[in-house]
């Protein structure tokens, strides 16, 4: 008999928890809908953004597959000719360097977080925040330390990559990203870890109260560039 009572209580508690969970979820979704429902024109814009985002995602996946196929075709077409084979290898290596393919290797992962300290009269609150110039300086130092590939929150650093401030977030490769910033770099870990040296930029940021961490890794994967580089004004000089 007491057993039955126990089961009833357990069931009661479970039902209560589940119901609570569902109510919370339904409420969340209803809230979301109510904000969306505010303005017809803005809604349409949001819909269209999501549509384009989806189209972009699909095309990007197709592009990745097509590039793999192209590499196979190229390999096949060049396999019987040593000169062409060399050119083919140069293209493959070049694609890794320019950011057109995913790469892996040893390196470091640097994380920059906005500081949590309370701004005092001597401490400028703006110092606690990671700025675009901070990310730019870290990337510059990583290259100086021999980094061969770099990404910031999985946005590959390529020839045309710029970092720009946009309110609380930064804009990189057309993507808006916010703190924490995770900067991955492939290269000799010992050299790259040299960024932590006294007088280096990381130490400078730490002193300002920014959350900085550096971690070595034997295997880092850096994704391919999320866009395409097309030249409109530039031409090669004919030889």
């Amino acid at each position: 008999m007491p057993n039955k009572k126990l089961i009833s209580i357990i069931l009661g508690v479970m039902c209560f928890a589940l119901t609570l969970g569902i109510v919370v979820q339904v409420r969340t979704i209803r809230n979301t809908n109510s904000t969306i429902g505010q303005n017809q024109e803005a809604n349409e814009l949001r819909d269209e953004i999501l549509r384009y985002k989806e189209r972009y995602d699909n095309r990007f996946a197709e592009l990745e597959r097509a590039e793999e196929e192209l590499e196979k075709e190229r390999e096949e077409a060049t396999q019987n000719n040593s000169e062409l084979e060399q050119a083919q290898q140069q293209i493959t290596k070049g694609n890794k360097l320019t950011g057109m393919t995913e790469v892996t290797g040893p390196g470091v992962i640097i994380t920059l977080k906005d500081g949590t300290g309370i701004a005092t009269s001597t401490l400028n609150p703006s110092q606690l925040i990671v700025h675009d110039i901070d990310v730019l300086s870290v990337v510059n130092e990583l290259i100086n330390a021999g980094a061969e590939a770099i990404s910031i929150n999985d946005q590959r650093w390529v020839l045309t990559t710029a970092i720009s401030c946009r309110g609380n977030t930064i804009d990189i490769n057309g993507e808006r990203i916010g703190a924490p910033f995770v900067i991955k770099a492939i290269g000799l870990p010992e050299y790259l870890a040299g960024l932590e040296r006294v007088g280096g930029y990381l130490e400078y940021m730490k002193r300002d109260g920014v959350g900085v961490s550096l971690e070595r890794s034997n295997s880092i994967t850096i994704p391919k560039y999320s866009g395409a580089i097309n030249f409109e004004y530039l031409q090669n000089v004919e030889e």
Binding site: R46, Y52, A66, N81, L84, L97, A162
Partner: protein, 230 residues
């Protein structure tokens, strides 16, 4: 009695399972709708964001068309060796252009910077910020004192010698930044309120900007080595 108990347990089990599944699904839906960011945006921001995604889609679509066309060309030219050779050479040239290993020319601007005498000299950071602003405005090729800016270019100040190094090479004043790209975009990237050139001029440095309809920028003259990426 016993049968009833088993039936009840099973029923409750199924009910619980169904509920948990529904909850999981809901969590997933909430997670996947990563619309929170665009939800908070105002209409003008949404328009910018839409233009951004449109152009990103078009960029990636053009690249996709190009790649698929190439695949077709390779497939059609399987028999002929000379055509395959031409295709590979074309691809190699394109890769080398992206790497900065070719001489290039086109319209753009030339920015010349010279430090003022009674003020702190123009720094490596100043140059880094100018290069970044030019890239953001769509620069297609940049050089500083004929050092080509590639994706692994560093611009650093060498304390011991009091000079700046670009690509590991020492550069001296005046700094001449050549950039190929849309002339008015390039100019407005560094001038006006918040522009680095205006800021440097206010600090008594001498900065001139010249438009040029055919600038030539030399190739990166070094080996780009890779030892760690695979």
């Amino acid at each position: 009695m016993k049968k009833g108990k088993i039936a009840m347990t099973i029923t409750i089990g199924i009910a619980c399972f169904a509920l948990v599944t529904v909850m999981m699904m809901q969590f997933k839906v909430v997670n996947e709708t990563d619309i929170t960011a665009i939800e908070e945006m105002q209409e003008s921001e949404l328009k910018t964001e839409l233009a951004n995604w449109k152009s990103r889609y078009e960029e990636i679509d053009a690249q996709y068309q190009e790649v698929t066309q190439r695949i077709e060309e390779y497939k059609n030219d399987e028999e002929s060796n000379s055509e395959a050779s031409q295709l590979v050479q074309e691809e190699l040239e394109q890769t080398n252009t992206l790497l900065g290993l070719t001489d290039v020319h086109g319209e753009g601007i030339v920015i010349t910077l010279k430090s003022g005498e009674n003020t702190a000299a123009i720094s490596a950071d100043d140059l880094l910020i100018i290069v970044n602003a030019l890239k953001f405005a769509g620069a297609e090729a940049i050089s500083i004192n004929d050092q080509r800016i590639i994706n692994t270019t560093d611009i650093v100040y060498i304390t011991s010698g009091d000079f700046i190094k670009v690509n590991g090479q020492r550069i001296l004043e005046p700094y001449v930044i050549k950039v190929i790209g849309n002339q008015s975009h390039m100019e407005s990237a560094v001038t006006g309120t918040g522009g680095k050139v205006d800021e440097l001029q206010a600090l008594d440095h001498t900065v001139t900007i010249e438009k040029d309809n055919d600038i030539t920028i030399g190739k990166y003259d070094g080996e780009i080595e890779t030892r760690y990426i695979e």
